[in-house]
């Protein structure tokens, strides 16, 4: 039985002894160059990536909204009183014949 198994493995091993080596085709170098060029083309700076562009746009929008909100809230009587104080200091509210 053991001998039969050994013969079987040897026969299987012999089945690949006649195999010739596979070769690649003549266009291998062309494909390789194409892939290398593609690889270099795709190495783009991080700031041109859509994810970066979209997130920086959102951050800018957020900053704008915050600044606008802040500006609206500072447009209050407190600000008005500062203007009045400034006007009084320089006599801007005194009416003159001129």
């Amino acid at each position: 039985m053991k001998r039969e198994k050994n013969i079987s493995l040897e026969e299987h091993l012999r089945s690949i002894d006649s195999s010739i080596q596979p070769v690649t085709d003549d266009f291998f170098y062309t494909r390789l160059k194409g892939r290398m060029q593609q690889k270099h083309e795709f190495v783009v700076p991080f700031f041109t990536k859509p994810a970066f562009a979209i997130s920086s746009l959102l951050v800018m929008l957020l900053v704008n909204i915050i600044v606008l909100n802040k500006q609206q809230s500072t447009d209050t009587p407190k600000n008005q009183s500062q203007i009045e104080l400034f006007g009084k200091e320089y006599d801007l509210f005194i009416s003159t014949p001129y």
Binding site: N6, S8, H12, S15, I20, Q21, P22, T24, F28
Partner: protein, 190 residues
């Protein structure tokens, strides 16, 4: 005729002509190594390209402690082993989560079309290659390089970065496991 030292120096300067010369000189052997290990035309072509891209990018690290060819074939063996390992890991994951992890079955029947295997031997060769694929990666690599690629034990040891004795031991264990795998194959394919 360009010497190896001259070729290496030109490659380190990213000279395109030298790179094309190198690719044409080694492409068939690199392709044969990765094809014999991966048993899939598409994967072999893809991996062979990756080998040359790595050669181009890391030629400056080649310290000439071996021949340029040996260094390239070592990269080819390593890349093919990485692919084999990822395939096996994928297949293990597929067994656990079949709905989540697809298998890479491209190579399933490709052995039957291995070039040069004569028609009447194709069935036996296919059974053998199915059994080879079930071997642990190191045994599969040593067996393939010696039996399919026709390399010597010394050359295989150099490419796998191990001693000749270790390769002999791998081949011996590979044959024992192949015997078992073949018996299983014929039991399930009766």
């Amino acid at each position: 005729m360009i010497t190896e030292a001259e070729l290496i120096s030109r490659l380190q300067q990213k000279d395109e002509w030298s790179f094309q010369y190198l690719v044409n000189a080694h492409k068939d052997r690199v392709y044969a190594i990765v094809f014999n290990l991966l048993q899939d035309e598409h994967d072999a072509d893809d991996t062979a390209q990756e080998v040359f891209i790595q050669v181009y990018e890391s030629i400056h690290t080649f310290n000439q402690d071996s021949k340029l060819g040996t260094w390239i074939y070592r990269i080819a063996v390593r890349k093919a082993i990485d692919k084999l390992r990822s395939r096996k890991a994928r297949s293990r994951l597929h067994k656990i989560f079949p709905w989540w992890m697809p298998t890479e079955d491209g190579s399933k029947n490709s052995t039957a079309f291995h070039p040069g295997v004569i028609a009447e031997q194709k069935e036996k060769a296919a059974a053998l290659m199915v059994s080879v694929r079930k071997l642990p990666v190191n045994q599969q690599t040593a067996f393939t390089l010696i039996r399919l690629q026709g390399m010597s034990y010394e050359e295989t040891a150099s490419l796998m970065k191990m001693s000749v004795k270790a390769v002999e031991s791998l081949i011996s264990r590979a044959k024992t496991n192949l015997q078992k795998n073949l018996e299983n194959y014929y039991t399930t394919h009766k």
